[in-house]
Assembly symmetry: C2
Homo-oligomer: 311 residues x 2
């Protein structure tokens, strides 16, 4: 039997995805009609991005699941018309890319690479040798698929890694902490902190003055997670006071970050334009196909969103 | 029986090393008199750095071995007064630090981090997503202890790593090539090339116009090995022609690199002041102690220099 799969993301994504999706459907043994134009009451599955054309799910009465292309679902869980099962994207390509961005910027700050990039003035400054990675405490907030991949990448380079999550987790080689009291312990003495939490009411503005104060003096912040995890004013104050040495931010409360936002001009902030990682069509298409296969076979869906938790 | 160990390196090194060496001797069960001042004909072992006070080994008639603190021995092998067995330093701390510097700068170029550091002008430029590390060919020339550690670090991050050495080697997860024909194949298509060869007559100026031409167009060069591995003029020509995109250089034919050397001002070169890695006293002291223990027990020395090969 043929299933009707509506592709509801921005037009350039259609160019990226239609062939990888069709290939993945064939490989999964799914006979699918993939299109951007299917009458709502005939749609079986929706491949979905929040910035695409679709916002009212009411007319999709036959739809068995909404299969997201994004890892972050904070905008989707607020949509009250969405009553169908909703799956997040958990893509190995996205994970690999995120691990590369996080290890790259961690090493950049660990090795003070910026000092050398900015110091090409003919003065030979041997300075001090950085500690080895084993003596550099790095803390990752969030131990979902992305946080876990980053933690493992950093451990493979020898870093001393602590991870924190809302509920207790256990990952070999990583000191795992959880809950409110665990958060203070996880930040305490951390020299590099990486934010990979989902955005929920309880993580909004989580990183405020008190949390920055818990980190080691002169420490570094990486945010490839969600912009609203940070209180922007408190971050600037912590940088200006020298409590933090530098922040490298990939995500913001408003994107694109407005040209007059103080982050752009701050000498201790590096803005990157939401490029830390992105979903890769070949691997993401296989995740979509696997979920359709499971649904058709009556098996549980992968990466189902828990609306009560918000992710 | 007490052995007399002469410490012959620059005075600041004495401050770094005298306690770790004494601790390592105790742990190895060696009774040693460690000093910077011992009559030459009473010295049993010399702990040595080429930039220290000692250049004529002739009066050290009883000396059983010269134990170097440096990984590079190109200056030492030319010293005709040195007839005693000579050992290089192979220090796990040096290896870890080198792996961190090489993976850090490889990721920096892989992710085009400089573009973001230099692009804090309020313009949001999402641009293109870099390939995953698995699709980035990296070649390491030299598979001694340092090259091998770096290759393994890069493999753990998922890079596609080729290694080249004069004699055939085999390392899991790395495409190993050797000999003259292997060198061309190792450079062919490489997007990031790391130089970790010893300096010998056959590697002097190895990286010349023809070798740069073999690399992928727009590729990157990292040199934490020895300055004279590169033909400086050919490197500048390859950068100016766009054949190479950037070179990050830690070592030079003359150090400190003179303020008027064209490398400093070149926009496609990053100079770092010979800080890629350095020997760490606690781990290096254990290597020295182990070699004295072996010598006293009649066992073969570790890391013995082969003067014919020059390393």
């Amino acid at each position: 039997m043929t299933v009707n799969v509506l592709f509801a993301a921005q037009p350039p994504r259609w160019d990226d995805y239609h062939k990888p999706l069709k290939d993945a459907f064939v490989q999964a043994g799914i006979e699918a009609n993939l299109s951007r134009d299917i009458p709502p009451d005939e749609v079986d599955y929706i491949v979905y991005a929040p910035n695409g054309p679709l916002s009212d799910f009411t007319p999709y009465t036959r739809c068995k699941a909404v299969l997201g292309l994004w890892a972050g679902v904070e905008d989707i869980v607020k949509n009250e018309t969405l009553t169908q099962p909703m799956c997040r994207m958990v893509d190995s390509g996205l994970e690999r890319g995120m691990m590369e961005w996080v290890t790259g910027h961690t090493l950049r700050h660990h090795l003070s690479i910026d000092q050398h990039i900015h110091g090409q003035d003919g003065v030979w400054r041997p300075g001090h040798v950085p500690p080895l990675a084993a003596d550099r405490p790095v803390t990752i907030l969030g131990l979902g698929a992305l946080g876990r991949a980053c933690a493992q990448g950093l451990v493979s380079l020898g870093f001393n890694v602590t991870g924190w999550s809302r509920t207790p987790k256990s990952i070999p080689g990583i000191r795992c902490l959880s809950g409110d009291s665990g958060l203070t312990a996880a930040l305490s003495g951390a020299e590099i902190v990486v934010l990979l939490l989902p955005l929920t009411p309880s993580t909004d503005s989580l990183m405020d003055a008190s949390r920055f104060a818990a980190m080691a003096r002169g420490s570094y912040l990486l945010n490839p997670g969600r912009g609203a995890l940070i209180n922007d004013d408190d971050l600037i104050a912590a940088l200006d006071a020298g409590q933090l040495e530098h922040a490298t931010l990939d995500v913001f409360r408003i994107e694109p970050l407005p040209a007059d936002h103080p982050f752009w001009a701050h000498p201790k902030i590096t803005v990157t334009p939401h490029i830390a990682s992105e979903t890769r069509p070949p691997t993401a298409s296989r995740v979509i196909a696997e979920n359709i296969r499971r649904s058709e076979a009556g098996q549980p869906l992968l990466h189902l969103v828990d609306r009560a938790q918000g992710y």
